[in-house]
Subunit: 209 residues, 2 copies
Amino acid sequence: MNQNQLPTIVLASRSPRRAALLRQMGIPFRIVSDDIPEESAGRADPVEHVIELSRIKAKAVLDRVEEGIIVGADTVVYLDGEILGKPKDADEARAMLTKLSGRTHAVFTGFTIIQVNDGDPFSDVEKTSVTFRHLESWEIDDYVQTGGPMDKAGGYGIQDRSGLFVDRIDGCFYNVVGFPLTKFYQGLKRILDVDTLRRIINSGGGIPG
Amino acid sequence: MNQNQLPTIVLASRSPRRAALLRQMGIPFRIVSDDIPEESAGRADPVEHVIELSRIKAKAVLDRVEEGIIVGADTVVYLDGEILGKPKDADEARAMLTKLSGRTHAVFTGFTIIQVNDGDPFSDVEKTSVTFRHLESWEIDDYVQTGGPMDKAGGYGIQDRSGLFVDRIDGCFYNVVGFPLTKFYQGLKRILDVDTLRRIINSGGGIPG
């Protein structure tokens, strides 16, 4: 790699939320992703599950990427010893939201960074606690009707109107959206020199607010 | 007001973030706002300060609104007994961010809801704790250069690239952006019947995520 050229960040994820978050922070990237079913990591422990799936996602595209940094990520909701992934249909979405109503659950996102042609993958995980207020059944029904739950772990997206379900969070907000930006940035700090990191962050511009 | 007609929500605020948040939650509204200087409420206590300023903002437009619900809001950052409003220039922004680096501060948003032609104003306040990681001086400089701090309490906007400064939050995320959506929604629940509230929330659509 040319010394003056910035390493390309390759997002191995189809989540439009992850792409939007990277854009928001001014981090330039391109997307190369496979369709990896959630069942590919069958772990009962949520930390092991999201890290394993993030590794699988990142490694799956390794032979199609010639240089740069590959990032895989996976997010789950965890309550009562159960991992909640994406609901299969409206009924399952309703059941998940009914379960989350009035209670505190955990959101785990694991991510894996692979530097192409350079050493070991780096993985990390972020946990955020999310407390829902008590939900009326019509609030759940109306939200399910919007289609919002359908492609999201736990059946909700805190950045859409189900944000009105959330009383408080404890931890990283962006982790709940699907990608722990600060922890990812700190991961980049471990593998890149300051000058390169700074140029990456400043090259994309980001949203001024 | 016609029984089938929804009350208009009037946002007495010029903050583009507050407008974006209401849009995101699918709450229809229009903006009628005066330019109220921060100095209009000179309270030392952050809770009294934001509630007073939110009342002043809402009342200031009362004679220009014929019906509906007026909403005023004000947000400050609070650390070491000091209220941090919007920085006046780049130097003050740098000083604020240097002060926030590596520490936990509080964000207070007060809001006031006035039903035009109907009774007393309702005010409430939300507090969120925000913990910044340690910031390098180049990270502060580069962010100040984007202009991001200039119209924001405490000199940062968690929804822009300064989100990378935040280690964790404890409480309502949207309060840090500038408007505590869940508490506002609960305020609406106090003054509107369920059917009207439900029609308001469903009329705007919101962002499916």
